[in-house]
């Protein structure tokens, strides 16, 4: 009894951490989003967003960029993860590390390096550079979870499929692909969510020519002064809800597959 009590006290630092750095800020965002600069309750901040065509366009554009980035990452990342995970390709473990290695380096650094690369080859910055940079930055986050699920997959399942008459293509579509869905889902979440809210990458890679939703929030807080905090908070809340919704949908899907 006493031991459990003691153990429970171990959680306190984390509870404190969560309250101070997660719960409190969320409450503050909520507070600012529904108040005017004088502190009175209002829905004006949200109405301002929905009435401003430019803001909505930015929001949709950000979602589209994030979606395209995610799709490209998936198309590039799945084969890479597959080749690394399947022992029949005899890829050395070094290859896995090389793919994961960029994750160890701060992505601002990588983005600045990308900008320099574009300069070096005389390529224009802009939408193309933005997509390239985002894919480059987030590809490891797609590869890693897929690689993980594929690697843990029981190889006898593949043998069982072959044994039952499946040709190599059918082994992939009927066994390997369905079984790697949890990894694909994790990869999508890990790429899509951070790309929706990204701002530094877009600013660096487009010379501030393209504004993403993340930048919009950042500017509300950074440049707009305290008067814009309420609007920024409302934008943050909208994004949070959208991201939350996608992850909820995804979660239900994976559970269905596991069941």
């Amino acid at each position: 009894m006493r031991i459990t009590q003691n153990r429970r006290s171990w959680a306190w630092p984390y509870v404190l951490f969560m309250v101070l750095l997660v719960v409190l800020p969320l409450l503050l965002i909520g507070y600012y989003a529904f108040t005017d600069p004088q502190g009175g309750f209002t829905l004006r901040n949200f109405l301002q967003f929905f009435h401003k065509q430019e803001a909505i366009n930015t929001f949709i554009y950000s979602l589209a960029i994030a979606l395209i980035t995610t799709i490209i990452c998936l198309l590039l990342g799945y084969p890479a993860a597959y080749i690394m995970a399947m022992r029949s390709f005899r890829t050395p473990a070094v290859m896995a590390i090389l793919f994961i290695l960029p994750m160890w380096i701060n992505f601002l650094l990588r983005t600045i390096a990308t900008v320099e690369l574009f300069h070096m080859f005389g390529l224009p910055l802009g939408e193309g550079a933005l997509l390239f940079g985002m894919v480059y930055d987030f590809l490891p986050f797609m590869i890693y979870p897929i690689y993980n699920t594929l690697q843990k997959m029981d190889l006898s399942l593949i043998e069982a499929a072959k044994d039952l008459g499946a040709r190599p293509k059918e082994v992939f579509t009927k066994v390997i692909l369905p079984l790697s869905v949890p990894g694909i889902y994790s990869g999508i979440v890990m790429v899509f969510m951070p790309t929706v809210s990204t701002f530094a990458i877009s600013e660096l890679l487009t010379h501030n020519k393209i504004t993403l939703f993340g930048s919009l929030i950042q500017r509300s807080f950074g440049e707009g002064g305290i008067a814009m905090w309420n609007y920024g908070a409302a934008l943050s809340l909208i994004m949070l809800i959208i991201i939350g919704m996608t992850s909820f949908f995804g979660n239900n899907d994976t559970e269905d597959i596991n069941r």
């Binding site: 029981d154 006898s156 399942l157 043998e159 069982a160 499929a161 072959k162 044994d163 039952l164 008459g165 499946a166 040709r167 059918e170 009927k174 066994v175 369905p178 079984l179 597959i257 596991n258 069941r259």
Partner: protein
Amino acid sequence: MGKSDYIIEVNHVSKQFEDGKYALNDVSLQVRKGEFVTILGPSGCGKTTLLRCIAGFQVASEGDILLNGEDVTETPPNERPVNTVFQKYALFPHLNVYENVAFGLKLKKVPSQEIERRVRKALKMVSMSDYEYRDVNSLSGGQQQRVAIARAIINEPEVLLLDEPLAALDRKMRADMQIELREMHQKLGITFIYVTHDQEEALTLSDRVVVMREGKIQQIGAPTDIYNEPCNCFVADFIGESNILDAVMIKDRLVHFCDQDFECVDAGFGEKAEVDVVIRPEDLYIWEVPADLEKGTKTLGEIAQMQADYDPEDRVPKGKFTRLYGEVRTCIFKGVHYEMTVMTDNGYELMVQDYHQFLPGTQVGMIVKPEDIQVMRKERLCNTFDGKVLKDNQVEFLGATWDLSDRVAERFEPGDEVEVEVDFNHVNLQDDEDEGTLQGEVYFILYKGDHYHLQVRTDDGDDLFVDTNDIWDDGDRVGIKIAPSWIRLYKKEVKS
């Protein structure tokens, strides 16, 4: 192309792995249509590799495999008319029971009505009719096993391969499944090839048993043949309990062991040939010798003779059999019978099974019928190695350098290629690896009644055979020493 009598023919198949080790070493096996063949052996003997070569998951390095007379050595598994039941079932976790069973038929684009009919039939066959839409992960081990079998047999394969399918089930469940498998085999009429390390399972299920060890087939035969007439010590030891003893064949039908001569039924070994004999513990007849020996009126032998002649239960066969006398050392109840170890008066320990209990300390007499003595040719009489004489009275073999006695060394020149002989009982094993000239691991232990016969594998993968009274365990690391005076050298015949 002539029709073959055999559904499967494995011809001189070897499988070598990248590290150079042989998983299969010149294996040949013919299986008739409808047979139930079990491949039996300890783990790492190559039995699963052989099965995987037949299934097509591995390709033999040498030799070929014929299915219905057709060479399938390199045919991919999906094009072979065989199906496998995997050791850990390998059911698809993303599909339910019905979809798992239907997997093979759907690939063949069988109409869905027929699929449904056949899935129901297959599930009925394995008594899983009400589980069609259950999630496979929610099933017990035994149920998963049944689904795995249904998934394999629904494709009506010509051969069903089973890779230790019952290994993960508990004892009672295993016994039930064995009976069901046997019945299924009779009902389906297809060929079963079954891999197991469980000798009891092999003897119960099969028409024929293939005993394997270290990538080689040791013996192929009906269960009764394998049990009653093992071809070597390994098979005798691996299958059932046995007393294995060093013996000398004095002449045809007379064999000497435990310091006594015994009549036997074997012939053709020559005179004074060193052999091994196997006596199953249930083939030793045992009776109690009364404890009133102290009275001194009769000798132990006479009393035992009396006892044997007047055995009230008539359990001990009458006749002029050679008798062994001794004292019971241990007695364990084994359910149906008791298992006793008896130390004979001349120092041999024998295992005896009997329905009657003989408590430790009891003086007993024992006989064995001639037909129950199985005589086997010895695989080797002493250790022999290829060696090379070095300078300074030394010789090199097994990758190490050994000292020679002057008496031996003076007959050879440095550089001579020689054959080295060392008797089993002159190899000295040391607890401390570093004390030995060579290091190795105890690989296989055989109890020979009054000593242990060990197979020691050196770190280079060579084998030494050692007779010792010391007790070692499988896998013990040992240092190997041989006294110079026990190393015999023979000049090699120079090949022209």
